[in-house]
């Protein structure tokens, strides 16, 4: 499992496409109103939207992932880091910010490779 994370608009998917020979059809894009992951594709992008959907549905995204690790072993997971700004006023956004951090901690531990993308440049941190 490979985890690619970084801030919004940093070029994470472009980095994945360039370095791991994938194209758009290999990517499942999470949606912020869908607390489900499609594991039929090589890449799962916008994972922060999945965590948002889980939190909005009052589910724990870490527990959801705990049930499907075996399906994620050969995946590339791409997620926004949303941990570094002002604490949001909105209750769901606050819970999301924390849940997304916990998801990234767990993914960082389990992933074989972790890459952080900064202004389009990838840095391997694991």
């Amino acid at each position: 499992m490979i985890l690619i994370f970084g801030g919004a608009y940093q070029g994470k998917l472009a980095y994945a496409k360039e370095n791991f020979q994938i194209d758009e059809k290999d990517v499942f894009f999470c949606k912020d109103d869908l607390a489900e992951l499609d594991t039929s594709k090589k890449v799962i992008a916008d994972l922060e939207k999945f965590t948002y959907a889980c939190v909005a549905a009052e589910e724990n995204p870490v527990e959801r992932l705990d049930g499907i690790w075996h399906l994620l072993e050969d995946k590339i997971l791409i997620a926004d880091d949303v941990s570094q700004g002002v604490v949001p006023m909105d209750k769901t956004a606050r819970a999301w910010r924390e849940a997304n951090g916990r998801v990234l901690i767990k993914l960082g531990k389990r992933a074989d490779q972790v890459i952080r993308v900064f202004c389009g440049l990838g840095q391997r941190v694991k």
Binding site: G7, A8, Y9, Q10, G85, V86, R97, G120, L121
Partner: protein
Amino acid sequence: MVYFISGGCKNGKSMLAQNIAKEMAESKGVPLYYVATMIPVDEEDRARIKRHIAERDGWGFKTLEEGRSPAALLNRQDVDLNGVFLVDSVTALLSNEMFPYGEPMNLNAAEKLKPVLLEFAEAVNGAVFVSDYIYSDADRFDEYTEKYRQGLAYLDKALANVADEVIEVSYGINYYYKEGCVK
């Protein structure tokens, strides 16, 4: 030689950029310019600019005020393109272009600025660009703020791509993304 420096706010980006620019200009024996990007609209702004100028006193910078298009500097008689230019900040340039004071906003400002900044970086002997990393918020912004974040990231990526060195300043530690430059 082009440097691109970014990171969170108030953690030493400007000071690092000033040091790099000064060192580069001195080692090459060329003029050192500070491209002042802030367009003052009130007393508070003017006071801040005064403070910034005082802080740079003794560094040897010649200040060039250019809040809109650095391309204008390329044709000025009194500007030596063989010099080193510190542009602080890309953030302000985009803000000035996207939300100009007293003019209609331009949501395509980043697309307009990109070729200008790349041309500038290419034309001068040395350039140090400073930007701000505003991409890890958990809040959901209004459409214009989101467009601004997206636009700044677009410029950051373009400048980071052509830069000889990209430095992220984080809590007093500098991360170097490209090798081969003096650290």
